[in-house]
């Protein structure tokens, strides 16, 4: 089964069809995706800026890094769940979207980043507080993390700028079934 077949199957599932069929479910999930990104993305930014010695310099590194670990994981699950629902509803369209694949590749690099730096940097925050200065490896990890997540956010926004190749798509799947509600006459009167 090719990747395209997988995307078509994903898009034809009940939940994906339901998301696509309503004018408001997609933007609601997108809003939740963005809300979670701002709230939990800031935890990543604060963690990394603390490792770089830029914010909360008076607070122990361990206080920031360790206390935010669990909330960050919960946040990632929320963001990824919303993201997966959004992507599945337009899976075939996104199969042709270069920004979508850029974003997925960058997310794979985040996994590599975690494999490389979790044990050597993020689990050893308490040691940095004993040391005279934060080691270069920790600063490298923090800088790469900031760069990766910034690029992921930009690539995510870029997805919306690619016109779906309508000639390649299953036409019935490409368009939402219903549009926004008709304007309310008494609110439209000026």
């Amino acid at each position: 089964m090719s990747l395209l077949t997988c995307a078509q199957w994903l898009q034809s599932t009940g939940w994906a069809t339901a998301i696509r069929g309503s004018w408001y479910v997609y933007p609601v999930i997108l809003s939740l995706h963005m809300t979670a990104i701002s709230l939990f993305g800031a935890m990543i930014v604060v963690t990394d800026l603390r490792l770089l010695g830029i914010v909360m310099r008076k607070r122990p590194v361990a206080d920031v890094v360790d206390e935010l670990r669990i909330p960050k994981r919960i946040g990632f699950v929320l963001v990824a769940t919303c993201g997966a629902l959004l992507a599945s509803s337009k899976a075939e369209e996104y199969y042709y979207n270069p920004f979508f694949w850029t974003k997925m590749s960058l997310l794979a690099l985040v996994a590599v980043h975690a494999l490389v730096f979790r044990g050597s940097v993020y689990s050893r925050a308490a040691e940095f507080d004993q040391a005279a200065r934060i080691p270069g490896k920790a600063k490298l990890a923090a800088s790469l993390s900031l760069l990766l997540w910034f690029c992921i956010a930009c690539a995510g926004r870029g997805i919306g700028y690619i016109e779906p190749p309508l000639d390649k798509l299953h036409a019935s799947l490409a368009q939402p079934v219903s549009g926004p509600p008709a304007p309310i006459p008494w609110l439209e009167r000026r």
Partner: protein, 145 residues
């Protein structure tokens, strides 16, 4: 009446997406840092320091975020003022935004500095988070209504 065509920002297709990325970064800084204070009031996150300490540590970053969105937002708006002005979702976003910023720099700041905790702290955090969530929903729905 503004003409979208007369705006030099509309001369390049790259300007709008670049401004949008700036807007998202500023937004994440502004709301994320306030969110960390609110989460602390809810007993989540940076529990080894008080909400007041967190707010004080992060205040310059909150302000930086606010400055970035106040710079990028009006420029984005200028790309098509008539559309935004008449867009119900945009109007909702602006109401939520003004309320959220006002709440943050008045009541929220005062309560956090005074060391609010318990039920009152939860209430302050929930009002703050709800207002900011309203801003996100208003912003996203601009393109969908």
């Amino acid at each position: 009446m503004f003409l979208a065509e007369a705006n030099p920002l509309n001369g390049s297709p790259l300007v709008f997406p670049i401004l949008e990325c700036m807007h998202i970064v500023g937004w994440a800084l502004l709301v994320g840092t306030i969110g960390l204070v609110d989460f602390r009031l809810l007993g989540v996150g940076l529990r080894r320091q008080t909400a007041a300490e967190t707010a004080k540590d992060l205040a310059p970053w909150t302000l930086l975020g606010l400055a970035i969105i106040l710079l990028s937002g009006p420029l984005l708006f200028s790309s098509d003022p008539d559309m935004y002005y008449l867009n119900r979702s945009f109007q909702f976003k602006m109401v939520c935004f003004v309320l959220a910023v006002t709440f943050n720099y008045t009541f929220h700041r005062k309560m956090v500095r005074a060391g609010v905790s318990g039920g009152a702290g939860v209430a302050v955090a929930c009002v703050s988070l709800l207002l900011w969530v309203g801003v996100v929903f208003g912003g996203i729905f601009i393109a969908f209504v």
